[in-house]
């Protein structure tokens, strides 16, 4: 279960979690939808999860972009502990919840609701503070932090960045993501949402690294778009099969899918390549970026989940091995 936990509460974004748990075993066709249906199986898993949460903590359910059928929420009647419902935006969903849980109390603007508890100032503050995007963002930050190999000890052992030839003090190990399907699907769900919400017109997805290709393949399935993998662009983990010239179609729009963007060297090379083939890159999307302020062609449409700089992750890059050691020792 993907949750965002603090001292007083546990927040559960239902859309992100239901998306993962709705997928039947062995299916080969999944589509992204702006509205995720909560299924019976997921609700049972959710109710089981409630038992694992400390009694003193509020359980907060983020209902944005969700819907359900078959009087499913009647199953929550048996829960006796306080539950908060956030972001009830759809009117239909509001009416359904009201019908299934007669004791539920809605806030004046009907956007929030509480079960087995009354509204007080603390609850109101939580409701106002946590929009759906804040909750999911916190989860993405947690996932990305887990991807970074242990924050290096002193002395620093610099990592060479293959595409740009620069050195960094830590390594964002995206391959670790694929060990945990739930994290991987949550990331894919977040990226698909970013792409759909951006309303960018595009005909396909394009990737240049192996990690990016895995992500692009899943996004291609979710969004029902063609995926192209570019050969020989990333230096170490590049794709080495396929035929680039045949795949890129003239005057078509593509979204570039990357895993982690450091300085954007690979992206610039890709943009040049696509332009040379008379096609366009209308956007770029990936899990995390460093230097999101960097000016480049897709800057306006750079869709990422986490920016390492704003999350206070002490990621540093330098031109020489020695420089990064000096930089880190100065900071310590």
């Amino acid at each position: 279960m993907q949750v965002y936990e603090e001292q007083d509460f546990v927040m559960i974004p239902l859309a992100m979690n239901a998306f993962f748990y709705n997928i039947p075993v062995g299916t080969d066709k999944i589509r992204y939808s702006n509205s995720v249906s909560i299924g019976e199986k997921f609700l049972a898993i959710l109710v089981q999860y409630f038992d694992k949460v400390d009694e003193g903590k509020y359980i907060i359910l983020d209902l944005q972009d969700t819907d359900y059928a078959f009087h499913l929420f009647q199953k929550l009647k048996t829960i006796t502990r306080p539950i908060l419902f956030l972001n009830i935006i759809s009117e239909t969903l509001h009416d359904k919840i009201k019908e299934d849980l007669p004791t539920i109390q809605f806030s004046a603007e009907q956007r929030y609701a509480v079960l087995n508890i009354s509204f007080d100032d603390t609850i109101k503050e939580i409701c106002e503070k946590y929009s759906s995007s804040v909750i999911s963002h916190n989860i993405y930050v947690k996932i990305v932090r887990n991807l970074i190999d242990d924050i290096p000890q002193n002395p620093v052992e610099p990592q060479k960045l293959d595409s740009s030839g620069l050195y960094s003090n830590m390594y964002v190990n995206v391959k670790r993501l694929f060990k945990y399907p739930e994290n991987y699907y949550s990331i894919a769900f977040g990226l698909a949402k970013k792409i759909v919400d951006s309303k960018i017109e595009y005909d396909g997805l394009i990737s240049s690294s192996k990690n990016g290709a895995i992500l692009a393949n899943l996004l291609g399935m979710l969004l029902n778009k063609k995926v192209i993998h570019i050969i020989g662009l990333g230096p170490k983990y590049s794709m080495n099969t396929g035929n680039l010239q045949k795949e890129i179609k003239k005057r078509k729009n593509y979204i570039y899918v990357f895993d982690f963007r450091c300085t954007g060297t690979e992206m610039k090379a890709l943009l040049a390549l696509i332009s040379a083939n008379e096609a366009y890159v209308t956007g770029a999307t990936g899990i995390a970026v460093y230097k999101s302020d960097q000016i480049d062609i897709v800057n306006n449409n750079l869709m990422y989940l986490v920016d390492l700089k704003t999350e206070n992750i002490p990621y540093k890059i330098a031109g020489e091995k020695e420089d990064i050691i000096t930089l880190m020792s100065k900071q310590q």
């Binding site: 709705n22 939808s33 299924g39 019976e40």
Partner: protein, 316 residues
């Protein structure tokens, strides 16, 4: 003897009930004299999407009653190619293989363009779970919603609502078929962008409303003193059981549909009830069966076809 049933230029729901079903009744009456049954689509240009589940159910019934598959004849002409293309895209051809034979290869000679992005037919076994039904419909409707409905939703400032309503409607109907009808079911959907109408149909070969209503609500019916002896009364009783719910059940489905200018047709074993926006007041008051014009124009009896068949046309 070979029996050929000629299908009209436009195979609509009324054509199915009014013309094809009576002919099938004759075939069943003289079953020992008929050893080959052909549905001839030579003169057919169009098929209404809502007829597809009915037709698939009919094929299964014929196969089980007569012991052989009926034959579909679609000629290898330009018009026939267009019809085949439509039936292919509605996923009819794939599902029909089980209960029909085709006189010529149905997968050759397609003509015409691709149709609207949201169209298709699905088959559900009785043993399927509600979650599995939900997953099928979510995946079916989502790409269409992203491409078309969203633009429409933005105009209406009601984001995601139409998509959710359509998905939930399909889920409720398919779950009803397996829970109450105790049968397999076929469901089809076609959102015709040119007509701004979504056609939804679900057919099953289950027990129908009357039997399931008596099995499930016998005590309540006895206590209420209602006289429920025919399918029409049973349909109305089942609809009003869930009247208290604004968002779930058949009452909500019919009310929402006719409120938005749509039509609902419910057929159970031998009766068909047609709900149109005209009857909204009597429907809400629960006095429909006392309305003589409803009885005259909106209830059709003697349309023998086992199971429950629900057709909905919702404008969007």
């Amino acid at each position: 003897m070979k029996k050929i049933i000629y299908i009209n230029d436009y195979l609509s729901s009324s054509e199915f009930y009014g013309s094809i079903l009576p002919e099938i009744q004759i075939v069943l009456k003289y079953y020992d004299k008929v050893d080959e049954l052909i549905f001839d689509f030579s003169g057919t240009n169009k098929v209404e999407p809502n007829v597809i589940p009915n037709f698939l159910c009919l094929g299964k019934v014929i196969k089980s009653l007569l012991g052989y598959k009926a034959i579909i004849r679609i000629p290898d002409t330009y018009e026939g190619g267009k019809l085949k293309n439509y039936l292919y895209q509605m996923k009819f051809l794939g599902l029909a293989k089980e209960s029909f034979d085709f006189e010529s290869d149905p997968y050759t000679g397609f003509e015409g363009k691709a149709i609207d992005p949201l169209c298709g037919t699905v088959y559900f076994e009785q043993a399927i779970t509600d979650d599995e039904i939900g997953f099928v419909f979510d995946n079916m409707v989502a790409p269409f919603a992203d491409k078309y409905l969203k633009k429409y939703n933005e105009l209406k400032l009601d984001n995601g609502q139409i998509e959710n309503n359509v998905i939930n409607l399909l889920k409720e109907l398919a779950a009803n078929a397996k829970d109450h009808g105790k049968s397999y079911s076929y469901a089809s959907i076609h959102a015709k962008y040119s007509l701004h109408t979504i056609f939804i149909a679900i057919s099953d070969s289950g027990v129908g409303f009357l039997k399931s209503c008596i099995e499930e609500h016998l005590e309540e019916i006895k206590q209420s003193g209602l006289d429920i002896r025919n399918e029409a009364a049973a349909i109305m009783y089942c609809i009003y059981i869930r009247k208290t719910s604004k968002k779930f059940g058949l009452y909500a489905v019919i009310k929402d549909t006719i409120n938005s200018g749509g039509t609902v047709r419910i057929h159970s074993n031998n009766s068909q009830l047609i709900f149109t926006p005209r009857i909204i007041k009597n429907f809400e008051n629960g006095t429909l069966l006392e309305d003589s014009s409803f009885k005259k124009y909106n209830i059709k009896n003697d349309l023998k076809f086992s199971g429950t068949h629900i057709e909905i046309e919702v404008p969007f």
